[in-house]
Symmetry: C2
Subunit: 334 residues, 2 copies
Amino acid sequence: MDKIKIVQIGLGPLGQKITRCLVERKETFAIVGAVDVDPKKTGRDLADICDLKQKSGVRIAASLEEVLRRVRPQVALLTTISDMKRITPQIENIVRHGIHVVTTCEELAFPWKTSPQLAGRIDAAARRHKAAVLATGVNPGFLMDFLPTALTGVCQKVEGIRVARIQNAAFRRVPFQRKIGAGLTPAEFKAKRKQGTLRHVGLTESMGMLADRMGWKLDRTEDVLSPIIAGKKINAGAMTIKRGMAAGVQQIGKGYAKGKLKIELVFRAAVGEPDARDVIEIFGEPNIVSTITGGVNGDIATCAVAVNATRQILRVSPGLHTMTDVPVISFFAG
Amino acid sequence: MDKIKIVQIGLGPLGQKITRCLVERKETFAIVGAVDVDPKKTGRDLADICDLKQKSGVRIAASLEEVLRRVRPQVALLTTISDMKRITPQIENIVRHGIHVVTTCEELAFPWKTSPQLAGRIDAAARRHKAAVLATGVNPGFLMDFLPTALTGVCQKVEGIRVARIQNAAFRRVPFQRKIGAGLTPAEFKAKRKQGTLRHVGLTESMGMLADRMGWKLDRTEDVLSPIIAGKKINAGAMTIKRGMAAGVQQIGKGYAKGKLKIELVFRAAVGEPDARDVIEIFGEPNIVSTITGGVNGDIATCAVAVNATRQILRVSPGLHTMTDVPVISFFAG
């Protein structure tokens, strides 16, 4: 099989990690270009920014157009922003060159309810230029939407779906612990919540994707964020959390149809959280309870599913896709 | 959404169950015809054969041609045989009318390694007449092939896959207990094994599907069947199994690439088997252990996935498909 020719656009922490994943699988992927707008990065070899062992021979460009003067990538891996409004012109600019897009933009995972006009713009641009676009990631994109959808395939009836992602942040990096509010006082937590920096983006998108596939019209959704307060002192690597401080965050999404709770998505990440796991419950015929022991490592998973998606994106019809309308994405060797 | 117009072909136990599933979801499906070659069934109302509560108004026909004189189904649900050689002309005959086919034929789940010529014939006929064909079921078709494939989507590396389906037959119907050899002496078990009646068809197909998606060239596969011998007396509803008798069957499929074990599929069904479950293990980066507690009820699941597949089969390109190249099949209401 020919290598898939990729341009990596966006070299923040996630883009750097994806680059390392691509390099690790160099029998399968060829990074033919890289783009970042940060002048501290442009002009340098990808290896310097992404901590690669060997020089890559790929110089970071300031724009896609600069890359296209020399090479013709098949797929752009786009890891710039989570925001639908700001990513739309970026995608329009990529697809007009006939290049497919796989992105980790959370709001694009299922934009048809939340941003139908922007979604329509992306879809139209992609179709016009015969390019396919897909947003994916572990969550949204996999654990709370695609995977439960797949499990309902063996169900004759589905009354409701509940997914819980329970993560113990004790073994995660300090930036991740900070991100989930670990160590904050309740007042600090409240202030940060107001700023919006604690929020995990994607529960609404996952609910939209599930409801769309099940044929449920959600008349109300909610997405409520609250602190998980330490009941006792917790020692977690570099960080000690006193009793009464926030150990992490809980975010619960609920979707109702005709006043009945149909979807519940529980996202808990805290230092010292016991029994880390991903649990999918399908209430139906048959009932299904499926558990991934320990939970899926989110950092690796998001990079992997984005990288793996570059193969399917070459095979689907032009336009904007979601994870539930492309053939299943899997690992593949060689 | 318009109802999906279905002709049910084959009214053995599975076809009857599928018919009941379709009738239960009558907002979604319309059974417009039914076919069986058994003269004891033809001419009678579907309700009489399938134990429906109300007359269906569908008279069982002896051939598809008889059905087509009056109505135009979109999809045929074909539950006649497991055998690739014998099902090929049946499918050719259906698709030449431009009717899509969803079948539970195990050998068709992934026929590209075991029967490439027959698979090619079906594929060519389907393309010629713009019809799509898919074989599905709980196993092969879902638990040991599609679902593990889906889980590897979040993996950066996969070294091996192990799936174990552990069923307790204590609560199943006596015919199922008989089918797995429960209550036989070791000598009787051996004789039945020789006849081939104890064998679960599909492990080879599931291995083929997994290997194809992972990019592994299997140079050897095996499929070994052995009795599970009761270590003590087991009381199981209508049946008592003495110590030293067979309580059920174990079948293990193994697939090797370059001499290394890459795929192991374990199918265990026995009366009194403890801790029933479906477990998928991905050995890679990350490792994934996913467990469905109690296991998926196989009877409901096979009917449900076949019925649910009738929606996707309307949307895919013409030709012979497998579960890993169509968009994910899910339940859907209305």
